[in-house]
């Protein structure tokens, strides 16, 4: 009897380890996560518009249909990236996600405080390599450090009323992400 209970205790402990391991492994193994869905769609280091969600078809679940969206799938292995996004009339935001869909940074038009959201995206190592004086002269240059070499930039412009859609599209059409 005691032997069976011991086996059961061991089994449950092992089950706990299996549980934790699978939870930690799922983000690494997932083949249908947002990054994978968008990778099939977007070339690297280029801004592309993604279709608005409809009841029939949506690239991702829980997309906000009130926005026009563009993405830039980035790869920093060859060097930092420059991003510029002209802001639209209503509300524009830029969100950064790692390779495993973690939102590590997001900024909106008001926080950027200009007509164009401009920033440099680089890895921590590339940032450390920046010459010091250059960092001082470019004090107002916004630098974002990416925790991973690859990831996603999601650029969104709000369409507060249906009539504003072309203005929002035009703003995003002029967005650029390119290697420096």
């Amino acid at each position: 009897m005691i032997r069976v209970l011991l086996w059961l205790l061991g089994a449950v402990l092992l089950g706990g380890i299996v549980h934790l391991a699978t939870v930690l492994l799922i983000p690494v193994m997932a083949s249908q996560d947002a990054f994978a869905r968008l990778s099939a769609f977007a070339p690297v280091n280029t801004v592309v518009a993604i279709p608005a969600p409809t009841p029939e078809k949506a690239l991702m679940p829980f997309m906000d249909p009130a926005f026009v969206t563009s993405i830039c799938r980035y790869d920093l292995s060859r060097g930092p990236l420059k991003l510029s996004v002209p802001i639209s009339q209503a509300y524009t935001s830029v969100s950064f996600y790692t390779r495993s869909d973690v939102a590590y940074y997001a900024i909106n038009d008001r926080a950027a405080g200009r007509r164009v959201i401009e920033l440099d995206l680089m890895t921590a190592a590339q940032r450390a390599d920046l010459p010091e004086n250059e960092e001082i002269t470019a004090a107002d240059r916004l630098i974002v450090a990416s925790p991973t070499t690859t990831g996603l930039i999601v650029i969104r412009a709000l369409v507060p009323e249906p009539g504003w859609i072309s203005a929002a599209r035009n703003a995003l059409a002029a967005a650029q992400c390119r290697p420096q």
Binding site: R3, W7, L8, G10, A11, V12, L13, L14, G15, G16, I17, V18, H19, A21, T22, V23, L24, I26, P27, A30, Q32, D33, A34, A36, R37, P53, T54, P55, E56, A58, M60, P61, F62, M63, D64, P65, A66, A90, Y91, S93, S95, Y97, S100, D101, V102, A103, Y104, Y105, A106, I107, N108, R110, A111, L152, V154, R156, L158, V159, P160, E161
Partner: protein
């Protein structure tokens, strides 16, 4: 022989317990660390690098991208204020005011996060589209039949989820109560 049998038994139990717990946590589980106000719950931490492993696994499984915390915060409601599941065959009244935000959007999804087809081709409202009363509050009728005013059609589906997203807002991880962030009340009316 008992050793072999015991090992096999333990491995099977471990697999069932471990995988079962993962499955339950990711499909049924309501992630912890949420901010609940009335029927609404948000997980502001999911929009930061501090997202917990369970939420990461959930996001990876569903394929969605959480709203970044510098962008906004998303509140989800799957029930009304009395805890009853939102049923697309019933009328639901959403009324009140929203927390401080430059813009907000309200969207209706099925439980998988898909938009719902309907004759009016309306899946939600933005803060600018809504018709308000003189005091700035508003009422949105969520239901299967067309209504005057702010009507959000459900398409008659059985279960749905309402998502209220606040953009450029002070509401976030530090928000504790409905006094800081007054969310609209959700009350159920008549059913078909």
């Amino acid at each position: 022989m008992p050793l072999l049998l015991g090992t096999a038994f333990a491995l099977i139990v471990a697999a069932v317990v471990g995988l079962g717990a993962t499955w339950v946590a990711l499909t049924r589980g309501t992630a912890y660390g949420g901010v609940s106000i009335g029927a609404w719950t948000a997980w502001p931490k999911n929009g930061t690098a501090g997202i917990d492993p369970y939420a990461r696994a959930m996001v990876a499984r569903t394929g969605e991208l959480p709203v970044g915390s510098g962008d906004g915060v998303a509140f989800y409601a799957g029930t009304d204020d009395s805890g009853q599941v939102l049923d697309g065959r019933c009328d639901v009244l959403l009324g009140g005011i929203t927390p401080q935000a430059r813009f907000w959007t309200l969207t209706l999804y099925d439980s998988e996060g898909r938009l719902v087809a309907n004759s009016a081709q309306r899946q939600g409202f933005t803060s600018q589209e809504i018709i308000r009363k003189a005091d700035g509050s508003f009422e949105i009728l969520v239901g299967p039949r067309a209504r005057p005013g702010n009507w959000l059609p459900t398409g008659g589906i059985e279960r749905y989820v309402l998502v209220l997203r606040l953009y450029d807002t002070p509401v976030g991880m530090a928000t504790r109560s409905g006094r800081e962030a007054p969310m609209p009340a959700i009350s159920k009316g008549a059913c078909l």
